[in-house]
């Protein structure tokens, strides 16, 4: 039985190797942070982090992840003790309906892991493939800027 390492915990998986990671996270591990949005890799709601890269869990068969640690939004902190990126999203009130937010957070997490001080264009370039239907993009960008330790003034500026 294959094992998956998620948020630092190695766990055995019953699912077949072609099963997308998203279903295993939600149905077997009870980690409901990553969301099913389009199921086609086009919206980013299912984004998780693997080896420093943002990965779409709805299109990532678990057979690809043997021995490769996965981080989900649950791995960044708890409601009582949120991680820095989560705290920034809370401080900027970045969520409206919240459905896209776990994906946005994880996309930003992968960005900041590789590039702790991204410029405005780099932030926008990284997040451009994640969709938000409520339109809280400006607050999401502000949250990422805050987590990156940047001036919050650039809101609304074009890159």
């Amino acid at each position: 039985m294959p094992t998956l390492t998620v948020n630092g915990r190695a766990q055995a998986v019953a699912a077949e190797p072609e099963t997308p990671l998203l279903y295993v996270l939600r149905d077997e591990f009870g980690l409901n942070g990553a969301k099913f949005g389009c199921g086609l890799g086009q919206c980013g709601a299912c984004t998780v982090e693997v080896e420093g890269r943002a990965v779409l869990s709805c299109l990532t068969p678990i057979g690809l992840l043997e021995g490769r640690p996965v981080t989900t939004v649950e791995g960044l902190g708890t409601p009582e003790n949120p991680g820095p990126l989560q705290a920034a999203f809370i401080a900027e009130n970045a969520a409206q309906c919240g459905y896209c937010i776990a994906g946005m957070v994880m996309r930003a997490y992968a960005l900041l892991r590789n590039n702790p001080h991204p410029g405005e264009a780099e932030i926008r370039d990284a997040l451009r493939l994640n969709l938000c239907r409520c339109g809280t993009h400006m607050r999401i960008l502000a949250a990422v800027r805050r987590a990156a330790g940047r001036e919050p003034a650039a809101t609304g500026a074009t890159p």
Partner: protein, 471 residues
Amino acid sequence: MRRRRIAVWLGGVALLAVAGSGLAAWRSALPPGGPEPGETVPERVQQGAVLAALGYCASCHTAEAGRPYAGGRGVATPFGTIYATNITPDPETGLGRYTLAAFTRAMRAGVDRDGRHLYPAFPYTHYAGLTDADIAALYAFVMTREPVRAEAKANALPFPLSWRPLIAGWKLLFFRTPTLPKDESRDPAWHRGAYLAEALSHCGACHTPRNVLGAEIKSRAYAGGEADGWWTPPLDRSSPAPLPWSEDDLARYLAEWDPQHGGAGGPMRPVVDAHAAVPKGEIRALARYVATLYGPGPAGSRTGPVDRAPGDDPRLGEDPRLGEGSRLGEGSRLGEGSRLGEGSRLGEDPGLARGAATYAGACAVCHESGGGAAGGVPYTTPSLGHRTTLRAPDPRNLILVLRDGVAPREHAPGPIMPAFGAVLTQAQMTDLAAYLRARFSPDGPWPGLDGTVRELMREPPRSGARAEASP
């Protein structure tokens, strides 16, 4: 082999040096100036806008996320990288001091206003066939763009190629004004298409193979070539496309996307995107001409789409991993010529089984949705067996598209595919590519697949390939 190539190359360089210095390599500078009254009237600018779109000027002269026509994009050639220049009318760094005469000389003779020879990455070998009226319209368009101050980046070419007088020798050997095909049995639209394809749209610059000195081999026109590290498919009888290309297919493909053949990828994407600004009649003309390049009747290797679906091969049925996710419906039967060769037993080879699992979990949700035309995921073909990419002589295009995906178009509908370079390891990429080839092509495994994957995945993948800047 390698040694022989180097010898040929060195011999060519020596020849060029002799020819270049013997010939009057020197060209005079032309006096500075600008558009005369009447040369930039609105009608001409509008004609020029359409012609600039059909000449794909922006696909080289606009950098990624750069200002329109301000240059800076690197064109990778086997000799080194050549950077496109700023063609906005900025007087210091662009074409601001070009008269129509200087612009015409650059377009027709590949010589800039200062008298320097231009590298043939700028396709003056095709533009030389343009009419005076079209060059004047392009001039009107270019000279009315917003001037941008942007110095041209220095080319990354080794000596002696960096020595421009050498280009004069190259021109002596290889530069002929294109002759436009004429055929009394064809209609005016075909002739218009021929003019566009041979001169303005310079199709052969990518779709014709080049010799060791980078010149198009005219005797093998449209036999396929290379662009920016991508394989460019032949447009002649040697096309490996699983289905023939009709004029209607080409017209759909060049305008947006064809439901049977799919849509453009790689360096052809900006070409198709540019067509958004082009009247339908021009696209139709191009399609009419290009359809005749394929020659009469289907080419010998055209076997129709291949799909070795599990039900078609008893060996596949034994592999539980090739289950539900990878079953296909009607129209996906094992066709002529799709016999299984060595090493392509989909159900037995462990690498192919791993590739099959990746396909089922990552690809099938879109690529087995039945095809965009039948109500499946938009911009997908009925199966990947319809894609010429899987019939290519080498796996570059497949690996590049798997690695970088297809970036969404800005402000317009179009295909989108996630970049799998972020999650696939080199071994996983190899397994997936081998599986796709074994299942969707009758041509046998790609030689050197491992090496190509290693080479193309050495660089960290882009964070999500950017859309081309719109022209």
